[in-house]
């Protein structure tokens, strides 16, 4: 009996000990990434600007009525004229008017966030009650009468997402004008749009009258379309939010002050310098968890996660994914400069998930969240990554969406491959139609989706619909927007990385990220940076990828044959004489092989490629081809035949839409084995489907 107890105890220890040890020695993903070291002071990179132009500073006071779902707001905008020209007409965005009715430009568009109104709760609006302006030290003038709605993009008179006002006198270059705006908003129900309420969860974004950007010599204030995002200037945001009691609030920036009001509500004051937007959220159900990002050479960042209670077990996963992004994106561009970041786990039923705002992001996850499907890691890394492009470089998302989404997508795939490895594949069953994270997840065992392969399919299907470099609302449909804003630019950057090397690519992005921090750069600025850093002109590359709808597709075929025996007439002592008959390519007579490797360019994109050719004697050669003509043939004569040929063996050209035809191997029976294996797997499923029919009826 004693021996049995001892044996059982040893067995239990043997089972428990490895798992205890494994927990202790597992390295967190943020620490296991192999990243380039942070540049030193003598790296030759541009200095990181310490502050933004701060030419659009907002001081906002807003009150939330959580029962009526309304906001009453007062804002003071201090706008400094950095345009170099006197200005008297000023455009402002009123994004929520996209939800005013079904006549808005957004409501008429395609895409999952188009403002649709089959639920009466989904209407919302922002209404300016009064707007006044005052120049430096001057008297405030009511300019409400000058307010007029404009539609610079499509002339849709019913669209009220942009208005203009005129000041009594022009604002001189270098001078400052203050706008005082008194507005009221009806918050739309938040099932579709990025902003809105569901139950007591309020996610408030793009919620205040926001001035346009004077850019490239003119005002840039586009209407809100179904597929567009945002563009605004940097400044200081000082925002006081009066919220009913019992709400947990998250917002851009740091909480500076909390004040309890006489009526039981609470006012929270948030403050952040050098950002171009301000978003916030409030809910009674939020569970707050905190973490911290600390890594040598990086400024520390406090991480605050606001979770739905049923996702409490995902807190550490959210925090760790945020660390991964802060570290990786910081290494590849420049470190995150703010002291905090807030990660919001959106409420069930809300459409606010998967979005970025300065120092605040929204993630998204389901209660069943298998780690191999990388939810919430994937979305958290992506949205945190936006802080570095959308947040700090702040390109024009209306006109060049790829400069933010594509850059972020390129880096997010790189980051989570380094941190977590390849993502898995899975399906969800018995969920809610339209809610991709609902339902029971079933993970396919031992299936890895390599970096970029989850987006090549979209490029294959929709890549030829449009030139990539088009304004967000100028694509033929929502799928074309998705491919050209996200997938194609990400793959084009991954391809550029393959062509110039990872080290050079990192230097390009570090140079670009630093030089253009706070500066609203364009595609031309990025291309110029590539040329500068590499010392070569890469315009031809971007002309074929960004400014083209052509596909990239390379294929390879191989032919092996024995060297021919002469037939017909051959040289004889007395002139031409009949030779031996052709033996063809059969036989084992030891004649050398004549092998041909043909590489074809099937698409319109011409890129230099490498071809690796492997021979039966173990030798391997690498050939180069400039990809200019339609095909190139390499011939080899020798005792060994070609057993394999691969175009782009290192998979540098991620843009190749057809990786399946990139390789040829001498058939050794693998095709048959693979065919029988997978046909058997399919048959197994079909057999069960048939057996299910045996019990019907």
């Amino acid at each position: 009996m004693r021996h049995r107890r001892a044996t059982l105890g040893l067995i239990a220890l043997g089972v428990a000990l490895p798992s205890v040890m494994a927990r202790q020695i597992v390295t967190p993903p943020s620490e296991r990434m192999q990243l380039p070291p942070l540049p030193g002071p003598d790296s030759g990179l541009p200095p990181i600007p310490e502050r933004s132009p701060r030419n659009a500073n907002y001081r906002i006071k807003a009150r939330l009525d959580a029962e009526a779902h309304r906001i009453e707001g007062l804002l003071e905008l201090e706008w400094r004229n950095t345009t170099g020209l006197p200005q008297s007409t000023f455009p402002f965005h009123l994004y929520w008017n996209a939800f005013r009715n079904n006549l808005s430009t957004s409501a008429r568009g395609q895409g999952r966030r188009a403002a649709r109104g089959d639920d009466p709760r989904r209407w919302g609006f922002t209404d300016v009650k009064r707007i006044a302006s005052s120049a430096d030290g001057g008297v405030e003038a009511d300019i409400t009468g000058t307010l007029r709605y404009v539609q610079p993009d499509d002339g849709n008179a019913h669209d009220r997402t942009v208005f203009e006002v005129t000041t009594p006198s022009p604002v001189a270059p270098g001078a400052t004008v203050r706008f005082h705006v008194d507005w009221t908003s009806l918050i739309p129900h938040g099932a579709l749009g990025r902003a809105g309420w569901v139950h007591d969860y309020h996610f408030i974004a793009q919620w205040f009258p926001k001035i346009g950007v004077f850019w490239k010599g003119a005002w840039n204030a586009h209407q809100f379309h179904a597929t567009t995002e945002f563009f605004s200037d940097f400044g200081v945001y000082d925002v006081a939010l009066t919220i009913p009691a019992g709400f947990v609030v998250g917002a851009t920036g740091a909480l500076r002050e909390t004040r309890d009001e006489a009526n039981g509500s609470r006012t929270l004051r948030f403050y952040q310098e050098d950002v171009h937007d301000f978003a916030w959220t409030a809910s009674r159900r939020f569970l707050e968890k905190t973490g911290r990002f600390e890594s040598a050479g990086y400024p520390p960042v406090d991480i605050r996660v606001l979770l739905q209670p049923e996702h409490e077990d995902l807190a550490e996963r959210y925090i760790e994914a945020t660390r991964v992004a802060l570290k990786a994106f910081g290494a590849w561009s420049a470190p995150y400069p703010y002291a905090q970041i807030t990660v919001v786990d959106p409420a069930w039923g809300s459409g606010s998930g998967g979005m970025e705002y300065p120092t605040l992001i929204t993630g998204g996850a389901g209660i069943h969240a298998p780690p191999s499907l990388f939810s919430p890691e994937s979305v958290t890394i992506h949205e945190t990554g936006h802080q570095f492009w959308y947040g700090l470089v702040a390109t024009n998302e209306f006109e060049e969406p790829w400069l933010d989404e594509g850059f972020t997508r390129y880096h997010d795939r790189k980051a989570y491959n380094l941190a977590y490895g390849a993502r898995g594949s899975g399906e969800r069953y018995f969920g809610l139609p339209g809610r991709s994270l609902s339902g029971w997840p079933v993970v396919a065992p031992r299936v890895d989706v390599g970096r970029g392969y989850d987006i090549v399919g979209g490029l294959r299907r929709n890549g030829r619909d449009d030139v990539m470099a088009r304004r967000s609302w100028d694509f033929v449909g929502a799928e074309a927007y998705g491919v050209n804003a996200y997938g194609k630019p990400a793959l084009s950057l991954q391809t550029l990385e393959g062509l110039i090397g990872d080290e050079a690519m990192t230097r390009v992005l570090r140079t670009y990220g630093r030089r253009y921090r706070f500066a609203h750069p364009t595609s031309e600025d990025f291309i110029a940076t590539v040329n500068e850093v590499t010392g070569q002109d890469w315009r031809w590359y971007f002309d074929q990828t960004w400014f083209s709808a052509e596909e990239c597709d390379y294929a390879v075929t191989v032919r092996n044959a024995r060297q021919r025996v002469a037939a017909g007439h051959v040289d004889g002592p007395a002139g031409p004489a009949p030779g031996a008959p052709v033996a063809g390519d059969a036989g084992e007579d030891g004649r050398p092989f004549e092998s041909e490797v043909t590489v074809q360019r099937l698409g319109g994109v011409k890129l230099p490629v490498e071809v690796r050719v492997d021979f039966s004697d173990g030798r391997s050669v690498r050939e180069g081809w400039d990809g200019q003509y339609r095909w190139k043939r390499f011939r080899y004569t020798g005792p060994a035949r070609v057993v394999a040929a691969t175009v782009d063996p290192d998979r540098r050209i991620a843009l190749d839409v057809s990786p399946a035809n990139n390789g040829w191997v001498e058939e050794t029976g693998h095709a048959g084995r693979a065919a029988s294996k997978w046909a058997m797997r399919w048959m197994f499923w079909f057999q069960h489907l048939l057996e299910m029919h045996a019990v019907l009826g």
Partner: protein, 338 residues
């Protein structure tokens, strides 16, 4: 021993005695599936010929190759995908069943234009529907075998029994199909309502309860229909009833009157089925199928799971037959006339 437990034991014994019948039914199932599996293998062999993806597909799953192949192949072949791996095949089929896709998409929800949205290629649904009718035909033979004390069977005897009861069993099947149609018609608005509750739920947990709940309820309802249909067929075989309608009504009445026992039988045999599925999943995750030798073992394990499933189906019919035979027969008062 309760009647339910006796019935379960009897059903399992009957299945064990008739294991050859199970093998016969498996062979039929396998032969039907091979009709398409062989052409699929030929297609895959041709597509993978001289491609590096052949090696990666032989040793694993080549996602990029599959993603491209799945876009270009004929419709029914696109059903090959990573969602079939592990226990995924079972979830996929259950999902199709609950969406009214089986049989033949008869109960599938209509789109706004009035067309039924088929999630499975029509060729597969057609073959499966034909298979279903063959099983309806054979059901009479199976129950005839189970009715016998010794449970031995011959193909001739099976077919004789099948032919004898074919007409009545087809009528039972038709009635059950009508009942299933009514059930799906009733389920559609209930599912929409439950989905709306899920959409409006405050927490995801509550929403998950609504979603999984209405799916589970529908599954239970379909299981109950199957029970009623099985009882109807049992009644026809045991009492030589000529009216399919009355047999179905009697089957329903008996199922309700012996609900607890029926539930125990269904749950017990269902649990055995889940256990077999769990064992398969554990094997599939641990065992790497590559070359022909490992494929043979995998094939044997696959067919073993299918044989278990078929034998459980036979055992289920046998258990319900035993329960009916004991409870319905014993409950009939016998008057001795001197």
């Amino acid at each position: 021993m309760t009647s339910a437990t006796r019935a379960i034991v009897s059903g399992l014994r009957g299945a064990r005695r008739s294991w050859g019948l199970g093998v016969f039914l498996l062979a039929l199932n396998l032969a039907t599936a091979l009709l398409l599996a062989i052409p699929l293998a030929a297609t895959l062999s041709r597509e993978l010929h001289a491609r590096p993806a052949a090696t990666s597909m032989a040793h694993g799953f080549d996602f990029p190759w599959w993603g491209q192949w799945a876009e270009s192949g004929p419709g029914w072949q696109k059903s090959l995908g990573p969602d079939l791996l592990g226990a995924g095949f079972a979830f996929k089929n259950l999902d199709l069943l609950l969406k009214g896709q089986l049989p033949a998409g008869l109960f599938a929800v209509r789109d706004p234009e009035g067309a039924r949205a088929l999630l499975v290629d029509p060729l597969l649904l057609t073959i499966a529907a034909a298979y279903m009718l063959v099983q309806v035909f054979l059901a009479g033979g199976v129950l005839s075998v189970l009715r016998q004390v010794q449970g031995r069977w011959t193909v001739r005897g099976l077919l004789h029994g099948a032919g004898f009861y074919c007409g009545r069993f087809l009528r039972v099947w038709a009635l059950m199909m009508i009942a299933a149609g009514i059930l799906f018609a009733l389920y559609a608005p209930i599912a929409r309502w439950a989905d709306a509750q899920a959409r409006e739920a405050v927490s995801e947990s509550t929403a998950a309860g609504w979603l999984l709940g209405h799916h589970a309820a529908m599954l239970l309802a379909l299981v109950f229909l199957h029970v009623v249909g099985t009882y109807a067929r049992v009644i026809i075989v045991l009492e030589e009833r000529s009216s399919a309608t009355l047999a179905v009504l009697s089957g329903f009445a008996f199922a309700v009157s012996r609900l607890a026992s029926t539930i125990v039988i269904t749950a017990a045999l269902g649990a055995l089925g889940l256990a077999a599925l769990w064992m398969w999943q554990a094997f599939d995750q641990a065992w790497m199928t590559t070359g022909f030798r490992s494929q043979i073992l995998t094939l044997l394990m696959m067919q073993a799971l299918l044989l278990a499933r078929i034998l459980l189906r036979v055992a289920f019919a046998g258990a319900l037959m035993d329960l009916y035979r004991r409870d319905a027969v014993e409950s009939v008062p016998v008057t001795l006339v001197a």
